[in-house]
Subunit: 449 residues, 2 copies
Amino acid sequence: MSAPSSPADVRPALRVAVLGCGVVGTEVVRLLTTQADDLASRVGARLELVGVAVRDVDVPRDPVVDRALLTADAEGLVEKADVVVELMGGLQPAKDLLLRAIEHGASVVTANKALLAQDGPVLYAAADAAGVDLYFEAAVAGAIPIVRPVRESLAGDHVRRVLGIVNGTTNYVLDRMATEGLDLEQAVKEAQSLGYAEADPTADVEGYDAAAKAAILASLAFHTRVSLDDVAREGITSVTADDVAWAERTGYVIKLLAIAERGETAAEDGSTTAGIQVRVHPALVPAGHPLAGVRGAFNAVFVEAEAAGELMFYGRGAGGQPTASAVLGDVVSVARHRVLGGRGPVESSYAALPVLPASAARTRYQMRLEVADRPGVLAQVAAVLAGREVSIESVRQTPKGEGRVVTDVAMLVITTHTATEHALRSTVEAIEALDVVRRVVSVLRVEGA
Amino acid sequence: MSAPSSPADVRPALRVAVLGCGVVGTEVVRLLTTQADDLASRVGARLELVGVAVRDVDVPRDPVVDRALLTADAEGLVEKADVVVELMGGLQPAKDLLLRAIEHGASVVTANKALLAQDGPVLYAAADAAGVDLYFEAAVAGAIPIVRPVRESLAGDHVRRVLGIVNGTTNYVLDRMATEGLDLEQAVKEAQSLGYAEADPTADVEGYDAAAKAAILASLAFHTRVSLDDVAREGITSVTADDVAWAERTGYVIKLLAIAERGETAAEDGSTTAGIQVRVHPALVPAGHPLAGVRGAFNAVFVEAEAAGELMFYGRGAGGQPTASAVLGDVVSVARHRVLGGRGPVESSYAALPVLPASAARTRYQMRLEVADRPGVLAQVAAVLAGREVSIESVRQTPKGEGRVVTDVAMLVITTHTATEHALRSTVEAIEALDVVRRVVSVLRVEGA
Ligand SMILES: NC(=O)c1ccc[n+]([C@@H]2O[C@H](COP(=O)([O-])OP(=O)(O)OC[C@H]3O[C@@H](n4cnc5c(N)ncnc54)[C@H](OP(=O)(O)O)[C@@H]3O)[C@@H](O)[C@H]2O)c1
Ligand SMILES: NC(=O)c1ccc[n+]([C@@H]2O[C@H](COP(=O)([O-])OP(=O)(O)OC[C@H]3O[C@@H](n4cnc5c(N)ncnc54)[C@H](OP(=O)(O)O)[C@@H]3O)[C@@H](O)[C@H]2O)c1
């Protein structure tokens, strides 16, 4: 592709170091090797892989990885590179290695959401001081270009809300529960056997992975520092097969969502504080919403902006090759800056909006109650909601035995209009205390309506 | 937002000129005005609107536009700006004004797909020579970030195929035909009354607008110059209510697609040439495909890349505000480069792939035939296909009167496996010549399966 006299061959090559040679690292090495000519043409200089840092240089690896490039001396390696790509994961030594690379003037690319959600500001500040690029497209939603669109394409707009399906494992699990009627445990086992879920699925099913991505997305969308601790988090472990079936019956699909939105809290004196609210939890999404159609292990991020309106970005959120594609896009960007001058976007935290507490979140709710099947029950329940200014959007009452044995218990499904989490909690407590209510079976938030 | 001592206030403001104050220009002026503080923080300098060029300074306009800034002297205006935003449309004087702006060292942003599809290379070359940015996110699919993802995020990957719903008017029309059973004329009228279609809807319904966008997308995705003349184009005017109904019955939705994909042609001597194929035509999309769910006037671009896999970008493809959002994103990018140094991506045409003729396109087909309702007919039709090496994927035969009058005519719906357009055409001719075939009712391509 690149003729011998093309500018890419005349310029000195850029030295690229890859830290980590696991699922993603191996595919990054593959792309750097197989696409070398194309990359040279796109960057304007050849990208020379100068080393691949691993823990153990002796374990067998994919043949695309030249064993002569493997090293256990990551610290030494980062000093020899123009571009350092961190794909080791974990907080340390990833953080120190990135800082060391930056200090030595290298541009850095990472896919490490855990580290960014924890220590992003330190890394941004170091990159800023050194005048180098810090790129991380792969850290959120794998292959899906979302970081670049949010921090560049939407830079002239005002983002109102971001709703993301950013964890493929949980989306796969919920999708199988919905389509095959599996229960959570069965679906998780299936995901594990297919390699979508880890042996220990905690980070996924408890929403920690999604929370890290929510923090990163919120920071970018609202020009405000948001860390993992700011994210209210709830996983999918309490979602039952019954919840999923009821969701379908009432026109919804259950998805684990990462949500970042503008909002406000009211103080006792009536004054309000504007800020943002960031959270991760399972939610009912209307069946007609674009996010409802996101199947299997796919990811999607839905953005509502003032001028642009509704946008959605869809694709594979994980996997070696998809993630490597996003990493390489970043490598090309930072490498081009080294060839042509200039820098990409830096941290933008000028807005410094307060992060509001979880109790300030406003959303719609669907609650499912087991109640005594006799007249007047709905009136009692409705009175409790009205007393707390939670207004009802729709009610559906069905004998619990529906189609089977007739019992004296009915199921009451109430969908509310928007209410604060605070108001809802106190409502649920009061409903639970009613004599006619046997059990509050579930309370789920409704999003995207 | 920006304290008096912020860097944005210390640096000299960047002078922005807007050419055109119509649907999009007005909204760009509004965002520049209402978001001024945010923009300054994001750019690192204030953006000062120095003038708005129009044909007629005296017509009444939206009050957000300061009349003192209006001028009919576009040529004079471009010389006074650091960033020129072209939103006049049309080939001239837009082209000369952009060249003039570039010559004077301004960075330029445009939403003008017609001009880019026609004269893109001239503009790129000029921007390159002058060392300034030429950005055009809004030219394809309005508010949807697609230009930036394709030319930056996917720069390390190998794009195989792009399938886009890039014209909101035709998508609205086809959607109304599908959901309301309207015929084409009724749906177009409805689109006109809602302002989605122009009084003269030719550019939309005949696929010219989509073809310009296809050319731009193909250029970016395949690093090859593709102009409007390279795009095989077919509009939606021949799509009937009956086609739409049959599509649904067989599990498809009809969409007008802009398609750019890698392919090859075989010469007489058996040698093959690799290249790309770019076309616009109505197609059957399987009901489960993400593009099938794109409703109303929304746009979406579906990308298949080697490493990233399947990606989709969804949002509003037109309208003043959405388009202005994309324009402002570009303005922020080019303005940041002026403040911090550097330049964005330049034209990448190194791959210089040949654009293959329409006859080389390979796709699946669905044909609907009216045939005599007697034994042996299918055998005859199948023999014609087999003789031309077009293999059948599925066949469905129904008495035409289905549910109404019984006639001696049946409808035969044949879906083929992949075949070249060339093979298909000769097949259709031969089928038409069969005695037992009354009429070839329709031949539609099947895409995205
Ligand atoms: N996998 C995905 O689909 C995906 C998607 C998006 C983002 N990410 C992110 O990408 C990063 C890498 O993920 P992965 O799945 O590729 O991880 P992985 O398969 O576990 O690979 C980690 C690699 O890093 C090396 N490594 C770990 N600690 C090291 C140390 N202290 N010194 C030197 N090398 C060390 C390991 O060396 P050995 O080979 O010698 O053990 C291994 O090669 C993580 O931040 C992850 O969150 C992954
Ligand atoms: N509308 C959309 O949704 C959309 C979406 C994507 C891209 N675009 C693209 O954006 C561009 C603008 O579209 P639009 O819908 O905003 O067009 P529009 O409403 O027709 O506005 C055109 C503006 O340009 C001015 N103008 C035209 N010719 C001029 C000349 N020779 N000298 C000075 N001013 C001139 C007009 O002045 P007067 O006001 O004095 O007539 C008018 O203000 C086009 O390239 C279009 O393809 C539009």
